[in-house]
Symmetry: C2
Subunit: 164 residues, 2 copies
């Protein structure tokens, strides 16, 4: 299967007046995420499912991907909230299901988690050396007959500025 | 500095009639590389220098980038030939020079060397888990005050099919 790690768009700044969970996408964040979604549609991409962090800025990002017609299935998962657990998600969710080789799944979440997950999947350890911008995406191919951690292959990493 | 690792475009098949060094880009290979070059221009990218492997298919790829106006300086280096040495290139070339933080250098070469170099720069070891397609590119930011191996950051990896 192919796993796409999508970081939420630009959101409201942190402040004492608003809970982190409730921070919304800004107008610019929405607009840029919509443009990325449109470009993904133009490239002919379709995803079998999108799973999003429950936080507002991630959920809104996932909704923009849905509204663009990129997938018909949207789910929420606490594993994708900040400081979520990749190993937990793999053990409790991923390996419980059977995926076709060409299954395409998007996870919408946060940094530094997503790029750390990418490093764990591809190299088995996270050094914090992948830069994933807001509304940017990583594409990873999971192995068919091996444990995903340390055996996956990265085929795509794009910041919006080089994608739009 | 930013280092861009660019893989040569689609080339003639290997055969007994032609030396590997002399294999040319195919018509499709030229065309796709030209489209990638045009897109890089549209994105506003400019490179301070391009260094290419001396092999024909790499040199022709570099020439296409030059003709598109992406750089004014082209050099050849044996380090970039197949099975070239990253550590040799770093010791004998890279560290002998002073680069501005925003210096942008393209290396045009071959697989599996380029993606292994990227892994060495970013994670310190090569596992063969980056997929770099022909006429695809990797973007890496080298650290300003540390050894580049294991301390560089990857910000871009794009196959032509998701770039054009």
């Amino acid at each position: 299967m192919e796993l796409y790690l999508f970081r939420h768009g630009i959101a409201e700044e942190k402040s004492e007046d608003i809970q982190d969970e409730a921070r919304k996408l800004t107008k610019e964040g929405k607009h840029k995420t919509e443009k990325v979604a449109k470009r993904l549609v133009e490239l002919g991409l379709k995803f079998d499912a999108i799973i999003t962090s429950p936080l507002v800025r991630a959920h809104s990002t996932a909704s923009i991907l849905m509204e663009a017609g990129l997938s018909k299935k949207l789910e929420e998962s606490g594993y994708l909230a900040p400081n979520g657990s990749l190993s937990g998600w793999i053990e409790n969710w991923l390996v419980q299901q059977k995926f076709e080789t060409d299954y395409k799944l998007v996870l919408v979440g946060h940094e530094p988690d997503l790029s750390s997950w990418a490093e764990l999947l591809v190299w088995g350890e996270a050094k914090g050396n992948i830069v994933l911008k807001k509304a940017g995406m990583i594409g990873i191919k999971l192995p068919e007959n091996a444990a995903p951690l340390g055996n996956s292959q990265m085929f795509w990493l794009t910041p919006p500025k080089y994608f739009l």
